[in-house]
Symmetry: C2
């Protein structure tokens, strides 16, 4: 980086840089002082910065993990990454991550924004910390079906309702289970206008708030009764490491072709990819492989995660394979209001 500067140059650059950055003079003043033209001063300042004579350091608190965020962003070509500080207790860890996600979500939303929402324990914590400050005319829509067991706060419909309540927006529920008994049943359900309509709205969302599921026996899909332990074991045997909206992927981010896929009532991976800002929230300790798979699948734009998982994922990623199969267009962190039809 450091150019090979002549001593005179070095001296002039340092002097000018000090005048500008430390003494807060204007380039104009400096130009007069050193009998140079203003553009020349500008070029010198530029050179001083590029050559490393001027060092700007952001004194970030160590718990901020800005470096981890940068690495995540870069490694996985994310639009953004937010790493929340480590907590030893799983519940407070979940809350920390959810708080960050809620803040982020708040920044994404404009009147008229449609947000597709998944299920999950992490996702389910988000509404508690969602304080957008002002009324937002947004629509929160379930992006996948519900779970048979009553486990209210982790069900997408319930999360949508809570989010909508927090900001004065609307919730659009999906009246269907996440997994049905057969592909045929799924197709018949999708033919129901109530279901089809909700999924169409979800597919046209500009923001999605999703969790990343694991494949262990304690994962949400199993706990909530969507899938049995046997089914989960079969998925694991097929190489599944995690899911987004019930779409399972392997460690390389490739979709798992399995019968489950045909019984799923949820947005597909392709639907997700078309959504501008997909925000994933994850905090559990068993998650690194699932996160890595999801990231490599290229469905995630923004990852909100705890420091432990972030480090683990980066370590795993460094050890194997390509990490960004889908170079996405740089999507702005907060998109403009889109004059999109909203549902009632």
């Amino acid at each position: 980086m450091l150019e090979d500067l002549r001593q005179d140059d070095y001296e002039l650059l340092a002097r000018i840089a000090r005048r500008y950055y430390v003494d807060d003079r204007t380039q104009e003043e400096i130009a007069r002082e050193f009998a140079l033209s203003r553009p020349k001063v500008q070029r010198l300042l530029d050179r001083a910065r590029r050559s490393g004579i001027v060092e700007i350091h952001i004194q970030a608190p160590p718990w901020l993990n800005l470096d981890l965020e940068d690495q995540l962003r870069e490694t996985f070509r994310l639009a953004d990454a937010i790493v929340s500080p480590s907590r030893s207790d799983p519940q407070s860890q979940r809350e920390a991550v959810a708080r960050s996600a809620a803040q982020y979500l708040g920044r994404c939303l404009r009147d008229g924004t449609v947000v597709a929402v998944s299920h999950g324990r992490d996702t389910g914590e988000v509404p508690r910390f969602f304080h957008p400050g002002r009324r937002l005319d947004c629509t929160f829509v379930s992006a996948m079906g519900g779970s048979p067991r009553v486990d209210a706060p982790t069900n997408p419909n319930e999360i949508c309702r809570a989010l909508a309540e927090r900001c004065g927006g609307r919730a659009a529920s999906l009246y269907a289970p996440a997994y049905v008994e057969s592909a045929e049943m799924r197709d018949r359900l999708l033919a129901q206008e109530a279901v089809a309509h909700t999924l169409r709205v979800a597919a046209q969302a500009s923001v999605a708030l999703v969790g990343i599921g694991g494949t262990d026996d304690g994962c949400t899909m199993v706990r909530s009764g969507c899938l049995s332990m046997d089914e989960m074991a079969r998925l694991r045997a097929q190489g599944a490491v995690g899911d987004v909206l019930g779409n399972y992927v392997d460690i390389e981010g490739r979709p798992i072709a399995s019968p489950h896929q045909d019984r799923l009532v949820a947005l597909s991976v392709d639907d997700l990819r078309r959504i501008e800002t997909v925000v994933a929230v994850v905090s559990e300790v068993e998650k690194p492989p699932a996160i890595l798979g999801a990231l490599r699948a290229g469905v995630i734009d923004v990852l909100v995660v705890d420091a432990g998982n972030a480090r683990a994922v980066l370590d795993m990623a460094g050890a194997s394979g390509p990490n960004h199969p889908r170079p996405r267009a740089a999507s702005p962190r907060a998109q403009e209001v889109i004059g999109r039809a909203t549902v009632r």
Copy 2:
């Protein structure tokens, strides 16, 4: 300095500061990204800088001694101070200082500028390094009389001639010795129009280039035969530590009232004070007390000095008395072209 920031604030400030200073986004972009107004981002950035979250460091080479310059500027309320790197050999030390002074001088000059010039070995080296690059329609005028012994390069007239030659300007000589035999003789000399005119021009200079003389037996005044060793001893006995243009001062910067003063053909201390930018050049090792006295006399605006003397003067100053008896108006390092009548 560091305010007591709340954790949230801290996080936001750090994030925004990083986006701005590290990622080079505009405030506008950042405002969009964080859903804030642009002025708000500005205020946050401002706070981040003032609170020390953003640290800007100028990676100056150690031989630059920018810190010494700052201390000199501050301690003695100088418009500027330039410290040149230490050299072991007195002659190359002198050259280093003279080079800095020449550069500085070059920056001060505009067409029409009048420069009053003293004698001295350090001053005498300046012309060799004076390369203003372009023709300058300046007038260099002797601010004190010459010395009886032929010691060409340290005589003010000769220095003026050399400087003028370097930039294509004019030299105005003072046809008088520095010290004459009596006060009466001095007055008669000053009545000569040739002498009076030159001194008037010198008094109206906007820049002065002066040395600071010592009071040891090897100083320029003695070497050049202006004063005898006896006279010098008498001055020392009166407390004199050094001179500027033959005006001797004590360690506190007070003028020495002595018969010599009345025999001197040179600008007075008051004349010097009226000159906008008085640049003093000093390099010799015996000089710290002389420099301190001259600085305290408040006649110097810009000090060009070697690192050794700089440190010594600051040490001495720290140990005793007030250092800036005359708070000067902040004078710009390079003044504007002044439509002042020039002499031919």
